[in-house]
């Protein structure tokens, strides 16, 4: 077991990568064998992620040096700096890893029936597993160039999956927009990486964080990195591509795309807190993030209320919820290095990170229910739906769980994270809490509207033959609903086990540097 945990950082990335290339081969033997390969490999990866999380929480940061005699040997003998590819897993990265493992498994389960009638399923699962590889790579990598490489892997496979249903034009348009936006963001990240490499002769984030000076070109690199990751996350005003792309993908993929947005958010936090943590004046960058978060919350929810397409409606809500996380962590950055960090900044960050976890459970669940509606009715137009709760009881119940959670209604888990955010950010500026509460009210109002439109009312004659979605789709949704129930019942345990360590890991730049560089002189 110890050997398995030692090598788990690379195994978590390598297993879905190998499985991705095995999928077309195994797929030749039949769909059952292929589906088994996908589910088994993702289940094993989830097991490794939880085992690694337990180890990281108990023993601290784990580094893995590729090609070295020992995985922990980050700096080769005779050298002053790390030269090999290094994976660095702290509580923050493993927290995102846990989310990714759960959602990708749920998405794979959901896909088994959701795309069962589509052609090109071998390619679908290959791309899905490649996307999983890219996501884990982004979360675990310790250097900037590999962050770019893994982002590209996740983006290219994500773009192809958005355009998977080739029979309709909007999927092709959505995929095209996603690829263009991803390519531009990727190029800017590569350019920023080049700026930093030209000055400091290193790509390793810990090394860069140790030596960075915050020169004019460092500031330009920061602007490029921050805005590129902001756009990939889907923050206002760079969110415009988000509903166009996310609403047309198969629902299981949309659920995963939400977590790739989280991965880009993770990268933005890593850049601000770890890479630039020692030199940045957090107040200005923190306020930039907080204002972006506020705009995102408000514009996202007001656009969502307006929507009639169920998947665009869900997409705008996903954007809106990203704002809460941005505000929570932004407040933490704004007070970084001040006494306020201890009084409320750390709680704001914990609340923001808690909301990432909650969002990762209820948002894919809600996208899956949207996908279930599309699966059964053949339309995404809420105006054409009605009375579906009579036929789709499980979907209706799971939709209600997701709705109560996203709206922050007690006792659901969404309330736990929102109360942490509201109480702490109020002390930074009351307008943040007020906006948050208004957005929550609008969220509940719009989900009630969508619920009424799709599920309530008498049975409509056009949906007389509609039946509940197949079992594997229900299982995919139930996995996420179970996560919601668990977090609802045990918020203190979840916060204590992984969320506070994740917030502390983000704040503790020295520990991240020391894990690679040794003790800082």
């Amino acid at each position: 077991m110890a050997t398995l945990i030692t090598h788990s950082p690379i195994l978590i990335i390598a297993i879905p990568l190998v499985a991705a290339f095995l999928t077309p081969l195994i797929g030749m033997a039949g769909s059952k064998a292929r589906n088994t390969l996908v589910v088994v490999s993702l289940t094993f990866v989830a097991f490794l992620v939880f085992a690694l999380a337990r180890d990281v929480v108990a023993n601290g940061i784990r580094v893995y040096t590729l090609g070295s005699a020992s995985p922990s040997l980050t700096i080769p003998p005779g050298s002053m700096v790390p030269v090999r590819i290094i994976l660095e897993v702290d509580a923050m990265s493993i927290f995102f890893g846990i989310i990714w493992a759960i959602v990708s498994l749920a998405a794979a389960m959901f896909s088994l029936s959701h795309i069962a009638d589509e052609t090109g399923q071998n390619r679908f699962y290959t791309l899905l597993l490649l996307m999983v590889t890219g996501g884990f790579g982004m979360m675990f990598t310790g250097d900037l160039f590999n962050l770019f490489v893994f982002l590209e892997i996740a983006s290219i496979s994500g773009g192809a999956l958005i355009a998977f249903r080739t029979r309709s034009a909007d999927t092709q348009e959505g995929g095209f927009k996603y690829i263009v936006v991803s390519a531009i963001a990727g190029l800017m990240i590569l350019f920023a990486t080049g700026l930093l490499y030209a000055q400091y002769n290193s790509l390793n984030m810990a090394t860069l964080a140790h030596v960075i000076q915050f020169t004019a070109s460092d500031k330009i690199a920061l602007a490029l990195l921050l805005v590129a990751f902001t756009m990939k996350t889907g923050m206002v005003p760079l969110h415009l591509w988000f509903p166009d792309a996310y609403s047309v993908a198969p629902a299981s993929i949309t659920g995963m795309l939400v977590i790739t947005s989280h991965a880009c958010m993770y990268a933005a936090f890593r850049v601000c807190f770890t890479l630039y943590g020692g030199v940045i004046d957090g107040l200005v960058v923190g306020w930039i993030i907080v204002i972006t978060g506020l705009l995102t919350m408000f514009v996202g929810v007001t656009m969502a209320v307006f929507q009639k397409d169920v998947m665009r409606f869900m997409s705008y809500h996903a954007i809106s919820q990203l704002g809460y996380m941005w505000v929570g962590v932004g407040v933490g950055l704004a007070v970084l290095g001040t006494p306020e960090l201890g009084t409320y900044g750390r709680d704001a960050m914990t609340g923001g990170i808690f909301h990432i976890l909650n969002h990762a459970m209820y948002k894919p669940l809600l996208f899956f229910t949207g996908g279930a509606l599309f699966h059964c009715t053949g339309t995404r137009d809420l105006a054409k739906m009605g009375g579906l709760a009579h036929k789709m009881k499980w979907t209706a119940i799971l939709y209600i769980i997701g709705t109560l959670s996203i709206s922050g209604l007690p006792p659901l888990n969404g309330f736990s994270s929102k109360i942490l955010i509201y109480e702490s950010v109020y002390r930074f500026h009351p307008i943040l809490t007020m906006t948050g509460i208004i957005v929550s009210i609008l969220t509940l109002a719009s989900f009630t509207k969508a619920f009424h439109s799709a599920f309530m009312g008498a049975e409509l004659p056009e949906y007389e033959k509609v039946r509940e979605v197949p079992r594997s789709m229900i299982i995919g949704m139930v996995i996420l609903a179970a996560g919601i129930v668990f977090i609802t019942l045990f918020p203190a345990q979840v916060v204590g086990w992984i969320l506070r360590p994740a917030a502390n890991a983000l704040i503790d730049q020295g520990a991240y540097i020391n894990a690679v560089m040794g003790a800082i002189p």
Partner: protein, 116 residues
């Protein structure tokens, strides 16, 4: 094992709310049981009554998504006019926004003298 999440200013215990909901559900069930005893399911009693007027077909009487919150959208008409103009659906505009936001952020960072 504690169910209490402490935020530093207050605390949150989901169990209290869950117990409260269960008690409320029992009370609701109790009051519902006190209702009309002569009610018979799937009889004429369960039919919709509209003061004698003809009841529209299910599809016609379902309030569709476009008719909900009309007053809200009417009040915020100006806001929606402006915000919808930004959502052009044209990829060139998306890239233009990216360029503009990057330039503004870079200028703020360069001008603000952020170095400690």
């Amino acid at each position: 094992m504690t169910f209490i999440l402490e935020s530093g200013y207050s605390f949150w215990n989901p169990l209290v709310w869950i117990i409260l909901f269960l008690v409320m559900m029992v009370l609701i069930y109790f009051f519902r049981r006190q209702g009309q005893e002569k009610y018979k399911k799937d009889t004429e009693q369960a039919q919709i009554f509209l003061c004698g007027a003809e009841v529209p077909a299910p599809g016609e009487r379902h309030i569709r998504v476009g008719n909900i919150y009309w007053g809200f959208f009417e009040t915020l008409k100006e806001y929606y006019n402006q915000i919808l103009k930004l959502h052009t659906g044209i990829i060139n505009d998306y890239v233009a926004w990216f360029v503009a936001v990057t330039a503004i952020t870079a200028v703020i960072l360069l001008m603000a003298g952020l170095g400690k």
